[in-house]
Every structure is written in C-alpha cells, then in structure tokens.
C-alpha cells in the first residue's frame, strides 16, 4: 500500500507521501532511541553492543525485510543473519580522530525503485551517516575508557544529549518539536531563565504599554519563530542546569514514545480520511507494543474527537459527551466491524452513534454500579452512510436522487417499482464480501437490519419509524443467507426514497440535504422455541414519563413499554393490543389497578420470527406460551394466573399451563427479578451522562438483558418537544395550565366540544347524563377525526356515580385528539381527576393526549367565556338535541377568530401547556398575497413573461418569517426591468408591514424576487434551472394577461 501510493505520487496524493515520510521518520527515531540506550549501557562489551546495533538498523530502512547490515571495525565483522552483499548498497565510513577505522554497510537484497540514492532515501543517507558518526564516537569513548579504566569523565554526555546530537544531523523537524516541548515544559515550571529568554524572542506582553501594541482590533506583530532554532542550544542548556538529568531523560523518552502517535494524529485530523486508510493507521498504531507507545493526553483528545467527528457526528453536544467515554482504541474494534467503500468517507448515522455511546457509558459504569453488571449488547455490524451512494452509482441509479422533488403522489406511485429496482441491483464486490463477513459472524442468529439516518442525528428530527427496519431469519446455506441480507439492505435503502420520509423531510425543511443512510446490523437477541425465534421479552423504556397515569407519578419516574417476544409491538402502536406499562421508579403504581383492567390491557399477541418461513409472524401469545410452556425460559416471570377474580403469581412447579387461565402481566419479573432496578439505572445513567431524556430499546433472552438502541427521547415518536409560544395575546388563549403536563402537541383543531361544568352538574337524572354521553358518541362519529378536542367536568368515563363526569366509554371518544378534564373547586374541595384511568391505556395506544385542568389554581387559566359566547354548532351537526344545547357546546374555532384553528402545546419538560387560537397559517396568507401580486402586476408594461413560485411558500411549509420566493421570467428592456424592480420592491415593503402586524415579526424583504432572462435560461443559470429542469418543482402563477 505504501509503496503503491508512493509510486503513484500524484498531486492529490501528496499527503500520502508526507504520511509515509513521517512514518519513516518515526522508524528513524526508534532506531536512534535504541542506539542511544545501547551505547549508554556500560554492561555490554563493545562486541555485544555492535552486534545489537546492527540488528536495529534494518527496521529503520524502508524495506526492513530485505535489508541487511554489516559493520566492519578493525577487521572484525558484525552482520545481520541475512547478510549478503548485493549491488544495492549504502556505505558510510566510521571515522575516529579523522581516521577511518571501519565501515557501516546497508544492502537491499532485492531490486527496489530508484529514489534519492539508488533505491535509498536521502533521509536514509543522513541516518547512516549519523549512525556511523555515533559509532565512531562510541568506539573512541570505549577506547579511552579501556585506557583509563574506571576514570569517569565529568563531561560524559547524557543519552538525551546524544539523541539531540543525532537529531541535529538527521531530523531537524523532530528536533524542533522536542525543543518546543522542552520550552513549554520549562515555561510551565516557571523557569525564570526561559521566561526571560522567551521574552526576548517572543514578547508575550500584549498590554497596551507594550511598544508594539497596535490597538485592540489589530493583529499582534509577528515574531520570527525561526529564531527558536537559534536558541535551541540555549534552551537545552537551561534545561540541563535546572533539571536533573534523569528527569530530562525520562521526558525525552516519553516524548519520543509520544511522537509515535503523530501519524495517527495527522491521519485522524484529515478531513474525510478514507475508511481503509484510517483503519490501517489505527491498526498499525495499536498493534505496537503498548510499552513502546504512550499517547499524550492532548493527542488522545485530538485523535478521538477527530474520529468521533469523522465517524459519528459533528454535533458539538455529541462530541463533547462522547469524548469522555470513547477512546481511540475503541475505533479499532468498531472499524473491524464496519463495512463500506474503502475509499469512502461515510459515517455511521444516528442510531449507531446512539447505541455505541450508550454501550460505552454503561460499560464504563459497570465497575462502579453493581446493578449494571451483566447488561449486554448484541453483536453488531455497521455499514457506512456512503455505501448507499456507492450502491446507487454502481448501478447507475443516480436518477433516484431526484425522486424527492417529485409530487408525493408520484413518489407513492413509483415506490414499489423503485424498491424492486433496488432489490434487483448489485453491490460492488468489496461490499458483498463485507456482507459475507457479517453473515459468517452472525451465523445461527436472526439478524435485524436497521436504518441509521444521518439527518436524524444532525437535525434532531425524529425519523423513528419513517425508515424500514427489517428482520432476516438468516437460515439456509451461506449464499442464501447472504442473498437475503443483501435483499433486506437494498429494501432499507429504497425506503430512503419512500413517500413518508420524504414528506416528513419536506415538512421539516430537510429535503435538500442528501439523505445518507447508515445501517446498523444486529443479531436478534432471543431463544428458539419450537420453530420460532424471539426474545423472551422486549420493549422500550423512557427516562421521562410522558404518560402519567396517576398524579403520584412524576415525569422523572420514567416509563417502560414491555411485551413478550419481539419488542416491535411495544415500540409501535398496534391496533387493539396493549403492552404492559410500568414506571421503573414507581413500579407499584400500576396503570391498571383493577383485575378486570389488568386483564383487558394485557398483551394478547406476540411477534416472533418463524424460522421455517423466515417471516415475522404475530401469534397468539397465550397459545404459544401454553404450547411451549416447558421450553419457554422464565415463563413464571411473564404470566399471572387469573383465578377467582384475582391475578396470582404462578405457583412455579405446580403450574399446569394447559389448565390455567394465563394472563401476561410480568408480575414476577417486576417483583422478583432486578429487571426494573436495572432499567432504572440504565435510564438514569444514560440521561445523566447524555444530558437529555433518553429512550432505550431492550430485549432479553431469558438470561441477560440487552440494550439494543438508545436515542434522545425527543426523537421518539410523538415526543418531540415544541416550545410554548410566548407572544399569544390574552384574548386568544383558551386555557393554560402548569400541573401534570406531559409533552405533546395537538394542532389544527377545528372544533371544541365543551360540556359546560355548571350545566352538567345541574342535570337531574341519570338518563340525562347518559344522554350527554350519547351526544358525545354521536359527535365523535360526526366531527372530523382528530380535529376536535373534548373538554368537560371531572372524570370522563365515570361509571356508577356518573355525576362526576360524562359516562362515556372509550369507543365514544376515540376520534378526539385531546381529552381535557376540568376540576373546578366546589365549595372547599377540588374533585380528583381520573387521569384518563378509565381507558388510560387506550388513550396511550391511540396517541390521544390527556390534560387535566385546574382553573382555580394560580397561574392556571380557563377562558370559559370564549366557549360560552360563541355560536353553538351542536344542532347544525346533530338533530334532536336542542334540549341539551346549554350543556354541550360545540364551537367551531374559525368562528371565534376568522380562519383560526386551535393549538394546544404541551411542554412536559417545562411543565406548561397552552391552548390558543392560531391565525391562519403563514402559508395560506402568502399564497393569497402571491395571487394578489399576479392580479395587480401589469405584465405587459413590465415585460413579464411569466411568474413562478418556489421555496417554502410553494411547498406549503412557510413559517412566520419565510420569504415568498418568486421567479420572474423577464423579457423586457432595462428600463422596464428597473420599473418592475421598483414596483416589486414597494409591494414587498407593504407585505413586510402586513406580516409584522400579523406575526409581530420584523422581516426585511419578505418578497424575494429572482429575475430570469432568456439568456439565463440558455446559460442554465441556477435559478433558471428551476423552471427548465424536470426535477425542480415550481408553481406557475397565472398572470393577468394569460387570463385575458
């Protein structure tokens, strides 16, 4: 590799060349260091010493394997075992007192390319001369020593001085580094002499009194640092005076060792260094004997932060945390499990970054924390993010990159085809062989292929669930297994271009970023039961609880969603099945307290991998557990027995699975194992170290608990945090509260259904109260789904004493987007709210938000009059309920303020929620204005051919301060152009003012106009391509003349 790059030395491989050169320097240093320690060793005879020295020489030359050496002194020969005279030689005379006393010869055993001196480097000439010089001195000293036995010369040189002497001759650059290090060292030890010396050479006084001070915004005068060279000698003399020789010696040894990190340091700093190159560099460095290398802490930090940035992310928050837990050495094993184009510079993506950091944090803390012991991580492989590009280019599929600009419908239409195209494409051989290594490594275990998006990581957007994660059963012969893995990867790649993620990116303004998709491949943790494979249980845990089912549960208590089998059913929301919810800090406060509820909301199905068909199947959990009761590990931890109206923990050995009414509760897991303790420690450790609430996916094989994924909780589905808007005027606020707030947003609400507190309390019979429930049920079916909220007294879903709240069932309210329970003080006491407990878990699974409201508490507001004084839509929507119009009020939000909708922003982190009426969105307003412009613009007078809309207003993503980007296809004279610009400028100012009135935001140049001429179109000017390229999406705005 080294030779190859050297031969191919081209302009852009200059850096390679420098790198190789640097490695040669390091070899020299090794050699010199070895030499000095030999010559210093008084116990060796001259002969022994010389024999040792010749062994040191070959490794310092370019091709150690084919290098041999001989020293001839006074007719005595010392040579390496492989010594042979050839025609490729380098010779240096050993001189003592101006007389040649011997010769040092280096031979190459094979022909090598011509370089500076035959096949040898210039530097090697310098080195050989330096060595023979040293040998001369050594022989001389020996002879003197032999002559005056036991006499000590006071002037005997320290070994470090010998090194300096050598460096002066061979490697001035290294010497300069050593000098700098020594200077810093002395400086740090407040050596006065060095301070004054430096003061002379490089004045550090930046105070205004300094004669050279030029003013605060002026650069400091440059000092000639070359002068450092001139004072090298002085510096080392100062050192010699002030520091004991052993210490200097140690320092030198240490610095020389540290100097070996330089190639790695430099490589790591290289922007986008190819995968193969950095892998080699890491391997080379860490395969060295640990005793021979030390990494200075500053080098260590530089290297690891560079590597973290290179492979994980540039995000400062991540790098900051990761650098405390990730060591350069970790990358050796990490890159050993990485597949990607060897010359590529791809990253790992968010998912891998998250789980790798979590692994490091947990492992680091295992020592200290007993509870973390035994937590495991699945075997994983990583595919770099550029592999997808590599794949696309390799198959000439580049047109797929344009997919994202197509109309969503078109994307949806094309997706299945695209997926097949991807599945039928091939990977470059290098990558396929990489995949083969994965298959071989993970033999016998099913595999999960997870997408690891870079956008998710860098922009904090929650892409969870947007891209595919696929299971591969990994059965059959090697080729079959390889084939299905490749198939799955191609499908995950295709999902990058699917309509949903693209729509999601469009919404968040991330469309123009290229989606590099890393892939995380993990073994599936689990056990084989029958012909199925599955974890004993799996799920996802959150360090902050966003679904407080009781006022006694705080956000800090965390929450776990747990299911038997694959965790997919806990991670996703599945129709009419439920995961077990538990709070690791308050495990005893169950979501479902009553036996009937615990049964109703227990998991009934489980996801498993069918090893016969290779597919994921959803099977009846109880049936499977009954059938395989004996094989299933820790069955007793998973189930309870329903008997006589109670749920009892299974009687271990006496359990008769076939006869028992088993219910999945995980009771024994919670009560008798340390699972919850473990989860608690994992969650809170990770949250503390990462500095943000986290969610963690986990699974168990019945013996060990595995952490599968970790990411910030704000990136989990439905838990994105939005700040409470601050500038909402009082009259637009419907309510605000700061009690028991969880995180979530409910927006674009069109209707508010309000059961008037007083009126409901005054109803005189149960029948009437039941009737209110009936009305709610009918409204639930009539109103647009998820576009209305329900507000009412006390407990929604009361049973028995239904005076306390409308006696609805879950089915009566399942289309609402938010359920508000209002607790108004009655006399002395405030009624307790239900916290949605009657159908809490249904709400969670359907992602219906819940919010209790205490209007009588300070800092909580409820603007009831807003609901009481608007037209009641009830009778427009439902017939026959005129009599109840005073009880049930249905308010259309656009009636309250024209065009407005209701937004409820809940920020659990800040413990605040606000419901307010929101003006028509910025997009509609802008579209209206664009049409106005088209209407008013006299196209003939201004020479306008046509008008196009691009950017956020066209995409429908405009925010309060977004520009309106207009492209004007102009075909007029300069004069017309001036006039047009003036006209548009004036119009733009008007819009700025209007927008300020609407939003309070000051914009400057809201109207952003780009003029395109025919010339631009010919030249393919970047703006012009918007209207010419079939891939760009613009909206043509009809002008007046076209209307005529």
């Amino acid at each position: 590799m080294n030779k190859k790059t050297k031969e191919k030395k081209s302009t852009n491989s200059l850096s390679h060349y420098q790198m190789d050169e640097l490695k040669e320097r390091v070899k020299e240093l090794d050699c010199l260091y070895g030499l000095t320690s030999i010559v210093k060793d008084g116990n060796l005879s001259t002969g022994e010493a010389l024999q040792k020295i010749i062994e040191l020489i070959p490794p310092a030359w370019q091709y150690p394997d084919i290098t041999c050496t001989r020293i001839t002194i006074d007719d005595k020969e010392y040579k390496t075992n492989n010594f042979k005279e050839t025609k490729w030689s380098q010779v240096s005379n050993i001189i003592l007192d101006d007389k040649k006393i011997g010769v040092l010869e280096v031979y190459y055993l094979e022909e090598k390319p011509q370089l500076g001196e035959g096949p040898f480097l210039i530097e090697e000439r310098r080195l050989i001369d330096a060595i023979s010089d040293l040998l001369g001195k050594y022989i001389g000293e020996r002879r003197i020593k032999e002559a005056f036995a036991e006499s000590k010369t006071a002037e005997k040189k320290q070994d470090w001085e010998v090194i300096i002497d050598l460096l002066i001759k061979t490697d001035p650059r290294t010497l300069l580094r050593m000098t700098r290090k020594m200077t810093y060292y002395l400086y740090r030890h407040e050596n006065e002499k060095i301070t004054s010396l430096l003061g002379r050479v490089c004045p550090v006084d930046k105070g205004s009194s300094s004669s050279q001070w030029c003013g605060i915004n002026m650069p400091n005068p440059r000092q000639d640092l070359d002068s450092l060279k001139t004072i090298q000698k002085q510096i080392f003399e100062i050192a010699k005076e002030s520091t004991p020789p052993e210490e200097i010696s140690n320092l030198f040894q240490n610095w020389m060792k540290q100097d070996k990190t330089r190639p790695l340091l430099l490589s790591s700093q290289k922007e986008g260094i190819p995968l193969l190159e950095i892998t080699d560099e890491l391997n080379r460095f860490f395969s060295q004997n640990a005793e021979e290398t030390t990494m200075a802490s500053e080098d260590n930090i530089s290297i690891k932060t560079a590597l973290i940035r290179r492979f994980f992310t540039n995000r400062p928050e991540y790098v900051n945390i990761a650098k405390t837990f990730i060591e350069p050495e970790d990358f050796v094993s990490l890159l050993g499990r990485t597949i990607g184009p060897s010359h590529g510079s791809g990253k790992f993506g968010g998912k891998t970054s998250g789980v790798f950091l979590a692994e490091k944090i947990i492992k680091e803390n295992m020592e200290k924390n007993e509870k973390l012991k035994g937590i495991s991580f699945p075997r994983s492989w990583y595919i770099t993010s550029d592999t997808i590009f590599n794949f696309i280019h390799y198959n000439d599929l580049d047109e797929t990159f344009q997919t994202k600009y197509l109309h969503p419908d078109q994307i949806r239409q094309e997706q299945p085809f695209l997926e097949q195209v991807f599945k039928n494409a091939t990977f470059p051989n290098e990558i396929v062989e990489g995949f083969r290594r994965i298959i071989q490594d993970l033999e016998g275990k099913p595999i999960i292929v997870r997408s690891s998006s870079l956008l998710e990581d860098s922009y904090g957007a929650a892409f969870s669930g947007k891209y595919k994660s696929l299971f591969v059963s990994n059965t059959g012969n090697e080729e079959e297994r390889l084939y299905s893995l490749i198939d799955a990867i191609a499908e995950v790649y295709a999902s990058t271009f699917g309509p949903d993620p693209i729509e999601y990116r469009r919404e968040r303004g991330l469309l123009d970023f290229s989606e590099e998709m890393g892939i995380l491949i993990q073994e599936v943790v689990g056990i084989k039961v029958g012909h199925y494979y599955m974890p004993v249980f799996g799920g996802v845990a959150f360090s902050k609880n966003e679904f407080q089912w009781s006022p006694r549960i705080q956000r800090e208590d965390g929450m776990i969603r747990l299911v038997p089998g694959l965790g997919t059913r806990a991670v996703d929301r599945v129709g009419n099945d439920y995961p077990i919810l538990v709070s690791p800090r308050k495990p005893k406060l169950q979501v479902n307290a009553l036996v009937s509820e615990r049964i109703q909301y227990s998991p009934r199905y489980m996801d498993v991998i069918n090893l016969k068909s290779g597919a994921i199947e959803t099977v009846d959990a109880i049936d499977l557990l009954k059938e395989h009761a004996d094989e299933f590990p820790s069955l007793n931890q998973i189930i309870s027995i329903h008997k006589d109206g109670r749920l009892v923990n299974p009687p271990s050995i006496l359990l008769n699975p076939k006869e028992s009414d088993m219910v999945i509760t995980f009771s024994n897991l919670f009560e008798k194992s340390d699972f919850l303790e473990k989860m608690k420690h994992i969650l809170f450790l990770l949250e503390e170290k990462i500095g943000t609430p986290v969610d963690v996916e986990f699974a168990s094989d019945g013996e060990k608990l595995y952490v599968l994924q970790c990411r910030p909780q704000s990136q989990s589905r439905g838990m994105e945090r939005k700040p409470i808007p601050k500038n909402v005027s009082q009259d637009k606020k419907l309510f605000s509260t700061n009690k028991y707030v969880t995180t979530g947003q409910v927006e674009n609400i069109e209707y508010i259904v309000y059961v008037v507190l007083e009126e409901y309390a005054n109803l005189e019979s149960r029948e009437e109260m039941q009737k209110i429930a009936t009305i709610i049920n009918e409204l639930n079916n009539k109103l647009p789904k998820r576009k209305f909220i329900l507000m009412g007294p006390g407990r929604w879903g009361s049973r028995g004493d239904i005076k306390l709240g409308v006696p609805v069932k879950y089915g009566d309210i399942n289309n609402t987007s938010l359920l508000v329970e209002i607790a108004k003080e009655k006399g002395e006491y405030t009624p307790e709210l239900s916290f949605g407990t009657h159908f809490f878990q249904d709400l969670v699974e359907a992602e219906i938000k819940y919010l209790p409201l205490y209007p009588d508490e300070s800092e909580n507001t409820f603007n009831e009059s807003l609901l009481l004084h608007q037209e009641n839509q009830l009778s427009h929507i439902l017939k026959n309920y005129q009599n109840y119009e005073h009880v049930v009020r249905v308010i259309k939000t656009s009636d309250v303020y024209s065009g407005n909708s209701l937004s409820v922003i809940m920020d659990g982190e800040a413990g605040e929620a606000l419901a307010y009426l929101k003006s028509p969105d910025h997009w509609s307003w802008r579209m209206q204005k664009v049409e106005e412009i088209a209407e008013k613009l006299d196209s003939e007078v201004h020479g306008v051919e046509s008008l196009y809309l691009i950017g956020s207003t066209k995409e429908g993503t405009a925010g309060p301060a977004s520009d309106i980007d207009l492209l004007v296809h102009f075909k007029g004279t300069e004069e017309q152009k001036e006039k047009l610009m003036a006209w548009l400028d004036k119009y733009g100012k008007k819009l700025d003012e209007e927008n300020k009135e609407r939003t309070g935001l000051k914009t400057d140049g809201l109207l952003d106009v780009h003029i395109i001429t025919d010339e631009d179109i010919k030249k393919k000017d970047s703006w012009a391509t918007h209207i010419t390229s079939p891939y760009m999406s613009v909206k043509k705005i009809p002008l007046k003349k076209e209307n005529n």
């Binding site: 029948e767 028995g800 004493d801």
Partner: protein, 428 residues
C-alpha cells in the same frame, strides 16, 4: 352545600316514600326506614410506600338490621359520597327482603382511587378499614362484600385482619371469598341461573312452555352466558346475543334463527366477552348492529348488559311478539320506556328482583362459612332455585291481586317485610 341536580339518596328516599304511601305506613315507621339506623364515618391513616402517612376517609352505613345482620359491599371510589352510600345501603335492605333472606342492608366504602395506590398500600388500607370498624361488623352484625374496585383479594385481607383482632376463625365476617378459602361454589352461575329460575316461573304464569320459548339476550358476559345456558337447558331457544367489539369500538348482536350454540360461541369468545366477528360469521351467525338485539321476533328479552338500554326512543322497536322482559342488568329500562311497556302489556321483571341471585348466593356463602361446612354446587343452586321461585310467586301474586307493576309489588313486599320485622321487635 345545597345540591342541585341528581342525588341518588334523594331518589331512594322518594321511591321509599311512594311505596310507604301505598303501604299506608305510619309516620314513625317511615321515620325509621327512610334513613340509615347507624352510620360510621372514620379516618384511616395509611403509611404509603414513600414513608409518608396519608389519611383516607372511610364509611360504613347500616341502613336496617331488623331482619338480620347487615349485608353489603365495600366500594373504593375517589368520588365516594355519604349520600351515595346511604342510597345503596337502603337498596340492599330491600333487595335482601324481597328474596326473604334474614339479612339487613349496609354499604361502605373508602374515598380513594386504587389506580393511585400500590398493592401494599391497598392492603394497608383494607386492614386499616377493618381496624376502625371491627367492633361494629362481624358474622352476626354486618357482613361486607366486594363492590366497585374491590375484589376477593381485598376481602381476604379484611377477613385476616378481623380474625387477627378477634383471635379466631371467622370466615363468615365477609363474603366474596375464593372457593379455596371460605367461598361458595355456584357463585359464577348464581345471577344468571337465578334470573332463569324466575323466568321459568313467569312463563308458567303466562302459560308459555319454556321449552318452546325464544329469547334475545343483550350481552354475553357472566350473567348473560349462564342465563343462556340454563334457558337452553330448559329447552328454550336463544336467537341472539350481543357484545362489545373492542376493535371496532361498537356493539354487535349475533343472530341465528335456529338458536345459538352456546358452546361454540363461548369457544370463539375472549375473556372479556367479545365474540370473534369473523369466526362467528363463519359459523353462520348474522352480525348485526348491537341495538338490533331487541328487534327480533321472540317471546323474551333479557337486557343483561347496560344501563338505560331500553329508552323511549327505541322501546317501539321491540317486536310485538315480546311477552316478557327480565332485567339482568341494573336499570336497563328508563321510566318512560317502562310506561310504554306497561301499555303494551309486556311483563317486566325488575332488576332488583330478577338479579337477586347474586345476593342470595352471598347469603349462602355466609351461612356455609358460619357453619364451616361447604355444600356441593348442586345443593347451592337447588337452594337458590327455591329462594328465587318463592320470591317471584310472592311478588307475582301481589302484583296480580293489586294490579300493580311487578316493580312496585316487589318494593311493597320488601318494605313491608322490613317494617314487619321492626314491629315484631317492638321498635315501632
């Protein structure tokens, strides 16, 4: 605080006054019976899991024990009020009296939400409740039972605490216990079977052969299923049952003209009583909207699921073939609908008579516990049959003789029995 709107206690008292008027009870008797004889209000300190002590408010209301020790449930409810408990205690007195078992009426509760309590805290609460009231309950004074949000586990904790305090085995202090520990066999069947024992007698009165009778049942829960079981065993035909479908979030009724096969339906029903729609259709059942259950051409309707199921809006959907409605659920017919049915000459067996099988079985459990000897299921159900049959005929006879509705006759009998007991004791 003056209460506007609905109040259960006021309603119970109004109902009592109406019947007292018909029975021409004197004022003293009315004064005694319209309010509870004893009320206990007490505080229960509970050490919570976090070490703090929380004070809960508990009640026990003993309405009347002239006929025997009080009997009634213990409710855990966050919005419990004394008035609700008073009303419920009074209804218990009448319910025991109408089936003529030697028990009075009581009810109790704790203001709490079990959703906010750990199991250990609930146990402490149960034991705390017993410690406060131990002297005033007991096998010969007042026997609690499970009710809203309490179950057999709570009962066992209470029984254990009581036995600890009094240092003896008193299984008769509480009912609703599991069969292994002082419970009675036949409890799951009791309400449904009791219903059909009464239905059998009613059909005899209306000269209908139960073996040729057809019925449509609302619900497919415990009561509905056992009622169907016995009805079919007697030779009757159930053409339709209904249930709530969690997935579709609505109720369906399943119809089969030839009559349902209970066994096959139970096989495709989950433990919440929801029938698998697809499988039912494969078995030849017609799946219809839930409300259709009352439209079928049958002799008998059994509303066994919901409150306010038959209202003035749908009462006219009821097929003219229907001769008899027997109420397994509580309050399934609104008063307006009741009036319409009377005009149509449909016999309505009221809830508080029809579903009294449950309380009778509780009484049997207590009897067995007291004598520490437990009967076979057949014995329990046989004795249940006797009680229900007897109760029905007493009510039927009075209703026929006085030309009043069965509901009114039942109340008259119940209240007069309690008044009589008070008189015999010399209280009034």
């Amino acid at each position: 605080m003056a209460q506007k709107g609905f109040n259960a206690y006021t309603m119970a008292q109004e109902q009592f006054e109406k019947v007292a008027e018909q029975l021409e009870l004197d004022q003293t008797t009315r004064n005694l019976l319209r309010v509870p004889m004893r009320e206990y209000h007490f505080l229960i300190p509970v050490r919570m899991d976090d070490g703090n002590i929380k004070i809960f408010k508990g009640f026990r209301i003993q309405h009347n024990d002239a006929k025997g020790p009080c009997k009634g449930g213990i409710r855990f409810h966050p919005q419990e009020t004394a008035d609700t408990v008073r009303a419920l205690a009074m209804w218990m007195t009448w319910k025991c009296a109408v089936v003529d078992i030697p028990l009075g009426g009581g009810k109790g509760g704790v203001i709490c939400d079990p959703h906010d309590l750990s199991e250990r805290e609930q146990e402490n609460l149960c034991r705390g409740w017993v410690r406060q009231i131990a002297r005033d309950i007991g096998p010969v004074r007042d026997i609690p039972a499970p009710d809203v949000m309490t179950n057999s586990q709570h009962m066992l904790w209470m029984m254990d605490e009581y036995q600890t305090i009094f240092g003896g085995q008193y299984p008769g202090v509480i009912t609703g216990k599991p069969v292994e520990l002082g419970g009675s066999l036949g409890r799951p069947e009791a309400t449904g079977y009791g219903l059909v024992y009464m239905l059998r007698e009613a059909l005899k009165e209306r000269d209908t052969d139960i073996a040729n009778a057809t019925a449509s049942i609302e619900g497919f829960g415990n009561v509905a299923r056992y009622a169907a079981e016995l009805f079919i065993e007697y030779g009757g035909t159930v053409v339709s049952v209904s249930c709530w479908d969690q997935k579709d979030s609505c109720a369906y009724s399943y119809y089969k003209g030839k009559g349902i096969d209970l066994e096959e339906l139970v096989k495709i029903t989950d433990r919440f009583g929801a029938i698998d729609k697809k499988k039912a259709e494969n078995l030849g059942y017609e799946c219809r909207p839930g409300k259709d259950w009352l439209k079928h051409e049958v002799d008998i309707l059994m509303p066994n699921a919901l409150e306010n199921s038959i209202t003035k809006e749908n009462v006219n959907d009821i097929n003219s073939s229907v001769k008899l409605i027997i109420c397994g659920a509580n309050g399934p017919i609104t008063p307006e609908a009741d009036d319409v049915l009377e005009k149509k000459e449909v016999v309505v067996i009221p809830d508080f008579l029809a579903n009294a099988g449950g309380v009778v079985c509780s009484y049997f459990e207590q009897v067995q516990s007291n004598q520490n000897y437990y009967w076979s299921k057949e014995e329990v159900l046989g004795k249940l049959d006797d009680k229900m049959t007897d109760a029905f005929h007493k009510v039927w006879e009075l209703a026929k003789r006085k030309k009043v509705r069965l509901r009114d006759a039942a109340y008259m009998i119940a209240i007069s029995r309690v008044a009589e007991a008070c008189k015999l004791r010399g209280w009034i």
